[in-house]
Amino acid sequence: MNAPLIWIGIPLILAILLWLPSRTKVTAFLGGISALFLAASAWFIPIDTAIRISDALSLKIAVSIDILGRQISITPADKPLLALLYGMAAIWFFGSSAAGIARRLVPLGMGILALFIASLSVKPFLYAALIIETAILIAIPLLSPPEKKPGRGVIRFLIYQTLAMPFILFAGWLLAGVESSPGDIELLTQAATLLALGFAFLLAIFPLYTWIPILMEEASPYAVGFILWLLPSVALLFALGFLDRYAWLRNFAQLPAALRFAGLLMVGTAGVWAAFERHLGRIMGYAAIVNTGFSLLALSLLHDSQLSAFFLLMVPQGLGLAIWSLSLSILKLREGSLNFKKIQGMIQQYPIIISGVLVAHFSAIGLPLLAGFPPILALFEGLAKEGLFTASWAALGIVGLLTSAFRTLAVVVMSPKDSTWEMRGSWLQNILIGIGIVLILLLGVFPHLIYPILVNLPATFEHLSG
């Protein structure tokens, strides 16, 4: 038995088996339970340590597996990360039935997640770019249902994500050259430039994020939300892998400034665009861009806060996106559109579902007592030390997003005088969103609840964790 087989091989097999159930609720339940089981096993089962089953029998889970001369290895240090990714995926899979896309999201999502984990575990890690591209290709049927003509968003997504791979592969080859001659400044600059270009495509950094709002408008918000949670998370972890491996890149003098610049551009521009939006899906898309911007800003503080600021953002952002996209999916399924005109006064028909949209939106801004508040506060504390300009740009993005939240609030409460309160949406939908709202509030009031998960996460990157 070995770790890659358990946390990559089994999920890949599950991704095929989960097509079999004919009922969506069964698919969602089985997918959620499987992901939860994989998360729990990653948390509790030791890797590379003998487990005594009986006096005569003991079991040891090996770290790596060889495939065609290359190695895929999952070390004990990776366990918290696996538990986090599969745990968060379980939340998404459980909600998929309520969002009406369990039949596609659960099997495809399981396959995509397994491939992303493989991309983080493969050695030489250069092969990761190829595995990520394979996962991107599998994501296309998730984002574009077979019964609907593909829109501009999915085409742009495919183009931008595919263009990332050659840049990263080539940068990887140059990086090997830099390792052998670290004094070659020209080679170093070329490698850094290609790497930056590759990650700009992969992370949808300004101005390459145009596909996000378009896709939010044309595809299922829940499917896009899943990709907007998983893809940037894995791409950032992949980027951390580069930083962890190459000392020169870690100590590159311009790195914090470049990360800060990219992060501020994303937070500032997406926040401002969101303020002028009239479509709830597109607003969520811009909020997801702001999320990635915050993560980049957290990475720019690497030398001050190691990785704590970065990992602190992961759970609230993922949870917020799950609740937000689930609420939007339900509204879209029932009302057909997420335009302001269509959802005007809807809080009286969908009190819990609309509350889900608003709570997730305010959490993304970092409103006190919500899950997003502690990490965003910590981030602003770090940014303020960098200078007033930096903090002001980030604040501009927050103000833009806050404006869009108030506009949404104003629109959803604009009901006719004689309208009565109802509770539309199924019990399952309302209960799931209700649980999500409670979780966001709980994490806001008691942020230390996720401390046991976060405390060991930086250990995955031994040179960065300080």
Binding site: L68, L130, L137, P141, P146, K148, L158, I159, P166
Partner: protein, 200 residues
């Protein structure tokens, strides 16, 4: 050998230019299949013939997958654009000329950066990448977008073959090419039932 390499570069240039100005999907796929001949020749300079043949076979398989899928769909009525030579095509030819000038000016610099690689490989690779970016920038059609991406990857694979000759990389790149073709086929067929229903 050098002369054949330059013929391959010329073939690549003609194929990519034709891809840019052809509206008919049949001709697009023929040009795509032709450009893989050039890719094969420029790749075999650094790889063994059998390894380089992977590119050719994969490329032709890709063109076949896309062709079979497209042929199964209802034929689209020829638009007015297809009959008007001046509309769009002139712009595309001018843009391609500019792109070609860019390739000529950049090629010597890239050759200096990558030791052991010849001018034809770099020129062929850059022509493929620049022209495909042009194609990608001018289309929102799934078939054209996938052809553009395949062309871009083909260009990248020529240069990458000069620096990396691992079998696993070749296999994974071939898988990605085939995957792109399957995605293209999926996107082509997606929504066709809805369209048929609307017309009936």
């Amino acid at each position: 050998m050098q002369i054949i390499s330059w013929i391959a570069v010329f073939l690549i240039f003609v194929s990519t230019l034709s891809l840019l100005i052809t509206w008919d999907w049949r001709w697009s796929l023929v040009h795509l299949a032709l450009l893989y001949l050039g890719v094969f020749w420029l790749t075999q300079i650094h790889w063994t013939i059998s390894m380089a043949a992977i590119k050719l076979v994969t490329g032709w398989m890709v063109a076949t997958i896309l062709g079979i899928t497209r042929a199964a769909l209802d034929p689209e009525p020829a638009s007015a654009l297809e009959h008007s030579w001046s509309h769009g095509r002139l712009f595309r030819i001018l843009a391609a000329a500019l792109a070609f000038l860019l390739v000529i000016s950049v090629t010597p610099t890239i050759v200096k950066l990558l030791p052991g690689i010849g001018i034809p490989e770099v020129a062929g690779s850059l022509i493929l990448m620049v022209m495909s970016l042009l194609l990608l920038g001018l289309t929102t059609e799934p078939l054209q977008a996938v052809i553009g991406l395949l062309t871009f990857l083909a260009g990248f694979e020529i240069i990458y073959a000069a620096v990396e000759n691992a079998t696993l990389v070749a296999a994974l790149l071939a898988t990605i090419n085939l995957g792109l073709a399957l995605v293209g086929a999926y996107l082509l067929t997606a929504g066709t039932d809805e369209e048929r229903g609307a017309t009936e």
